[in-house]
């Protein structure tokens, strides 16, 4: 582990959890003091935390939740279009800042492509699908995969269930 990375991880581990995890202790050549109290478990993170955090980011930066939750059936296409144009720019900026997306198969749609993988989760075959994986086919959708995700680490007391705070203006 590089010195900077070690220093960083140690610092944040102590800051947010009040103790160093075992892996860092080993790297630093330290050991738990015999008889010391067991390290309290860090605040439990639920599997939905990351999803809620992403929703909160898209709402904060681009107001995506406001848009999706609004009944837009009564508005003209012009009105919807104007709002979407602004929202689309901000959503994309925000998405690109935190999630690096790349195509699963980097090719031109409509041209012949080799299959990158036989895993149906990565490459979905359409049409007359034979029992044995074929060597290739026509690319219809390049797919998306997450190359990197870089969400900020919220504090231990962060309440993920609040996607957007209420706003109250003090006059």
């Amino acid at each position: 582990m590089s010195r900077i990375s070690l220093a960083f991880r140690s610092f944040f581990a102590i800051l947010f959890h009040g103790a160093l995890p075992d892996a860092l202790l080993t790297s630093l050549g330290l050991a738990h003091r015999a008889g010391s109290k067991p390290v309290p478990a860090p605040a439990a993170h639920s599997p939905s935390d990351g999803a809620l955090q992403m929703l909160a980011i898209l709402q904060r930066d681009a107001r995506l939740i406001d848009f999706l939750m609004e009944d837009i059936s009564s508005y003209s296409d012009d009105q919807v279009g104007a709002a979407v144009r602004s929202l689309h720019d901000q959503c994309r900026d925000s998405l690109q800042r935190y999630v690096q997306l790349a195509p699963v198969i980097d090719g031109v749609e409509g041209t012949h492509t080799k299959l990158a993988s036989a895993d149906p989760a990565s490459v979905k075959l359409l049409g007359n699908v034979p029992p044995q994986p074929p060597p290739g086919g026509t690319l219809r959708h390049r797919g998306w995969r997450c190359a990197k995700i870089d969400l900020p680490a919220p504090g231990a007391r962060h309440n993920f269930s609040i996607v957007a705070p209420a706003e109250v203006e003090i006059e």
Partner: protein, 588 residues
């Protein structure tokens, strides 16, 4: 000491560049800062915004920085964002306040319209905190080369007077730096150009005159640099600087937003404060799209989303038309004027609202015309022009400036200017400052310049007093324009009597346009080109013999690091330094 560090302490953004002393190229230091609660990110610029949070502004623990778990304040992007929602706790444009002689700049006065009960800060203190953020961020990333032990160059507008420079220096020294030097921003921009063009000597020749036009977010700064020859080598000399003009890109974006707001008001749409801010921001985005040389669009949509959950329903639509953009930017800020058209001075009204003294005339071309007009009435004829500052990213505006300038030169029978292409207009000043740090160590060319103003001490005429009328005031030149760093000048034939044990105050004046006044010259009538700045005081300790009159003469010293120091010298050689009295308020 391992590095030279160049800091652009801007009105709206700060930047830090550095270079290793063993002549590594100049690099930019991305500044880690809070960009959202709980999110630290590195950005190339640190917005010059300081937010003084209350207990209810941010969730607990969400302000932690890698080097400080619980900071008492927020500096940078998050401060700027939160300041829009809660402006009463935001300190911004501290630098403009630093150069404002109408207020006490060491008193805790910011935010100017602050929330009641808020612990305010002084303009000096706000500047210190931006520098402090940069210091701690640097130390976190380079613990082996502490910031305070490096050579630090802080840039100031060329138009800053001696007091504003001294206050900037003291803010930097309060961060613990031992080795701080001030550098003028347009010079730094020119150093950045030299750094990027190692073959610059091929581009200019002795006798050339380079005009640096620096239009930032909040200020416009003008400088002339002459190319001379000295011992067979090309040398550079800064020969003129402009007045302090509080006029920049923010004013332009605001003017565009106001134009659209008026249009919306005619259609009956009312905007609240936050929406106006959104409009301001979206106008800037639309402006940049229209100013893109590739854009042919006649207009760009400007959308303000509805408040609360009624996002689509409440959306207000407008458009920034190219015709409005041209009318507001080109005709408003860069009108085609003659070289005789000077900016209009604000009419003095009895009671002026206190606040920043924004330029009364937004026409930058008029300010340029005035700047180029010499004391003898002739026009300085630049041969080259270097653009700097975010506003001049826009080719349209650069072209307009060139067109106006070349028109004036043609009238004078001179050849047209050549534009020196600057790069990285947002970071050039910081980069140039770091390069200058190397240049001072003999690794590059230096611009000679000396002080950017002439300074005067006020002397009341010895005339019989007329009731109700103050005695006419004369001004004694105590430092001439261009006095060099590390030199001094004295006025031996004018003595003043100081009373030992009592404070004595001198009225102090300066001028950016009177470049010919030699030390000792007495100016009989003070025209508008001589402006009063902060008074100075000196206190001879009573131990020297209370009540005695001591005749003294004036001596002015410009130190190696830039600040101007006025001294009183007695006949026997005893010396007392005069201190700027920034606590005093000068009536406008």
């Amino acid at each position: 000491m391992k590095y030279v560090i160049g800091i652009d302490l801007g009105t709206t953004n700060c930047a830090l560049a550095y270079a290793a002393l063993d002549s590594e190229p100049v690099g930019l230091f991305p500044v880690p800062q809070l960009v959202n609660p709980g999110e630290v990110r590195e950005e190339a610029l640190l917005p010059s915004s300081l937010f003084l949070p209350g207990a209810l502004d941010f969730p607990a623990g969400s302000l932690a920085l890698p080097w400080n778990a619980e900071p008492a304040e927020v500096v940078g992007r998050l401060a700027q964002k939160r300041g829009v929602e809660n402006p009463g706790r935001l300190v911004s444009s501290a630098k403009s306040w630093l150069s404002h002689s109408g207020v006490d700049r060491t008193a805790a006065i910011l935010p100017w319209s602050g929330a009641p009960g808020l612990q305010k800060v002084s303009p000096v203190e706000a500047s210190r905190r931006y520098l402090e953020h940069l210091r701690t961020a640097w130390d976190f990333h380079r613990p082996d080369a502490p910031f305070t032990e490096q050579e630090v160059l802080v840039t100031v507008p060329a138009s800053f007077d001696a007091v504003a420079r001294e206050l900037t220096l003291s803010a930097a020294e309060q961060t613990g730096c031992r080795n701080v030097t001030l550098l003028e921003e347009p010079q730094a921009a020119f150093y950045a150009w030299i750094e990027r063009h190692p073959g610059w000597r091929e581009r200019v020749a002795a006798g050339d005159l380079i005009l640096v036009v620096d239009i930032g977010g909040g200020t416009t700064d003008l400088t002339l640099i002459a190319v001379t020859e000295r011992e067979g080598e090309l040398a550079l000399e800064r020969v003129a600087v402009g007045e302090h003009i509080l006029l920049g890109g923010d004013n332009m974006d605001l003017a565009l937003a106001r134009a659209i707001e008026r249009e919306l008001a005619e259609k009956g749409a009312r905007l609240d404060g936050l929406q106006i801010h959104a409009l301001w921001h979206n106008c800037r985005v639309a402006k940049e799209k229209l100013l893109d040389p590739a854009s042919k669009a006649a207009q760009e949509p400007v959308t303000i989303l509805g408040k609360g959950a009624g996002l689509v329903g409440g959306t207000i639509r407008a458009a920034l038309k190219r015709s409005i953009l041209n009318a507001v930017l080109l005709d408003g800020f860069f009108p085609e004027v003659t070289s005789q058209d000077f900016p209009e001075r604000r009419r003095r009204v009895g009671l002026q609202e206190i606040g920043l003294p924004y330029a009364a005339d937004p026409a930058i071309t008029k300010h340029l015309a005035q700047f180029l007009r010499r004391q003898d009435g002739s026009m300085a004829a630049p041969t080259h022009v270097l653009f700097n500052g975010g506003v001049l990213h826009a080719r349209l505006l650069r072209e307009r400036l060139l067109k106006v300038l070349n028109g004036w030169l043609a009238t004078e029978g001179k050849t047209a200017v050549q534009a020196l292409e600057g790069e990285d207009l947002m970071h050039a000043v910081a980069r140039g400052a770091a390069y200058y740090g190397l240049a001072r160590r003999g690794k590059g060319v230096r611009i000679r310049g000396g002080i950017a103003r002439a300074y005067y001490v006020g002397i009341e005429s010895a005339m019989p007093a007329v009731p109700g009328l103050p005695n006419p005031l004369k001004a004694l030149t105590v430092a001439g324009f261009g006095m060099e760093e590390g030199t001094g000048a004295s006025v031996p034939d004018r003595e003043f009597a100081l009373v030992v044990g009592e404070p004595a105050e001198f009225r102090f004046f300066s001028s950016t346009s009177r470049r010919e006044d030699a030390v000792g010259t007495l100016i009989e009538e003070l025209g508008p080109e001589i402006q009063e700045i902060t008074p100075m005081e000196v206190h001879l300790p009573a131990s020297e013999g209370a009540g005695q009159l001591v005749p003294v003469t004036f001596e002015t010293v410009v130190t190696e690091t830039g600040p101007l120091q006025p001294w009183c010298v007695a006949r026997d050689g005893r010396r007392w330094k005069l201190e700027f009295n920034v606590r005093e308020r000068i009536p406008a």
